[in-house]
């Protein structure tokens, strides 16, 4: 991967880039929320207004998907969403490292979700009923089989969360790098800097056209993907948590039908 991706401009010695830039994201978010909530007003203006609108969006999504019970999990969900969104968008700034284009960051987020929704489900229903639910509403002979299948499908959830975010982000970065490579950007820039007048004219114009095409066409796409992937991560987290909460009612419904 190092062959096509430029290292970020700011690196701490001995610390991996994605950890450094995770800290940067944390500092940005913490500073924003601190500045916005330092002087709270009843009629919000400026930054406080912006953050309140943002959190109301999260709240509305939670109300739609999880119902009124979901409000308790707003801190977890909104923190994950804001962190992933900021990390995604930071990967688009030239010279900064993308936090979410590293597998480890995404795996950390997905494991937090995995542990959290099992914990919430077990707290809500008790450990034994929660485990019993994995067997599903099937005849007794099939229950061991269902249990194993369900365990595997639950183990696949953090894997798919991790790989979806990672693949989308890295795929976008590689697409950008390959487009620049195919258009010969470094050759054009070298031509522009070579000193000869025709080289400077052709290389300069070609380089500007290349960059304009890429920024005008690919960057909007990547910004859309950054928002979409953060949205999908948050939405799946909400679905998993609400699944863990509501499982008891569903199983009763099913047993009533049979």
């Amino acid at each position: 991967m190092e062959a096509i991706e430029h290292p970020p401009i700011f690196r701490l010695p001995g610390i991996p880039d994605h950890v450094t830039y995770t800290w940067l994201v944390m500092v940005i978010l913490a500073a924003l929320t601190f500045v916005a909530s330092r002087n709270l007003q009843l009629v919000p203006r400026g930054l406080q207004n912006f953050l309140e609108v943002l959190l109301e969006q999260f709240q509305q999504m939670i109300d739609d998907v999880m119902g009124p019970e979901g409000r308790r999990y707003l801190p977890l969900i909104a923190t994950l969403g804001l962190f992933i969104l900021t990390g995604n968008l930071m990967g688009l700034v030239p010279g900064l490292a993308g936090v979410t284009s590293n597998l480890n960051t995404n795996a950390a987020c997905a494991l937090v979700v995995f542990v959290a929704y099992h914990w919430i489900g077990a707290r809500k229903q008790g450990l034994v009923p929660y485990l019993k639910h994995f067997a599903g509403p099937v005849p007794l002979a099939l229950k061991p089989l269902m249990f194993v299948i369900e365990i595997i499908s639950h183990l696949a959830r953090p894997l798919s969360l991790t790989l979806r975010l990672f693949g989308n982000m890295v795929g976008g970065h590689i697409l950008l790098a390959v487009i620049f490579l195919l258009m010969g950007l470094d050759g054009l820039i070298g031509w522009a800097l070579s000193g000869s007048v025709p080289g400077a004219i052709i290389g300069g114009i070609g380089g500007i056209v290349t960059i304009a095409f890429t920024v005008g066409f690919l960057y909007p796409l990547k910004i859309l993907v950054a928002f979409l992937q953060a949205f999908i991560f948050v939405m799946l987290t909400m679905l998993y948590i609400s699944g863990a909460i509501e499982e008891a009612e569903h199983s009763e419904q099913h047993s009533g039908h049979h």
Binding site: M1, A3, D64, S160, L163, R164, F166, G167, N168, V170, G171, I174, L228, F231, I232, M235, L236, L239
Partner: protein, 108 residues
């Protein structure tokens, strides 16, 4: 016709092996096959993912046109479904990236 195609394909696949064997075994035969596998696998995955997502979007747009009041909920469900379908292609992308970029895979 079909047999000649298969033979041609086998010859193409066997060629890097022969070329590398003549060079004296630098690199082995994993790397060229990894590039071929990454390209073909990504092509198949992208094509089938496009078919699946096309069906999903077609149904969702149909439903939205029939019932514009429920458009927001249908759109949310559609985006979740698209993400789940897309993740299958993303798995192939990750495997392709592993094949292309991870050095020192030793299958022997």
């Amino acid at each position: 016709m079909r047999r000649s195609l298969i033979l041609g394909g086998l010859a193409v696949l066997a060629f890097p092996t022969a070329a590398l064997a003549a060079e004296g075994g630098t690199g082995g035969w994993i790397a060229p096959f990894a590039v071929i596998a990454a390209g073909i696998g990504m092509a198949i995955a992208a094509g089938l993912c496009g078919l699946g997502q096309g069906r999903a979007v077609a149904s969702a747009v149909d439903a939205m046109a029939r019932q514009p009041g429920a458009a927001a909920r249908i759109q949310t469900a559609m985006i979740i479904g698209l993400a789940l379908i897309e993740s299958l292609a993303i798995y192939t992308l990750v495997i392709a990236l592993i094949l292309l970029f991870v050095k020192g895979i030793n299958f022997a």
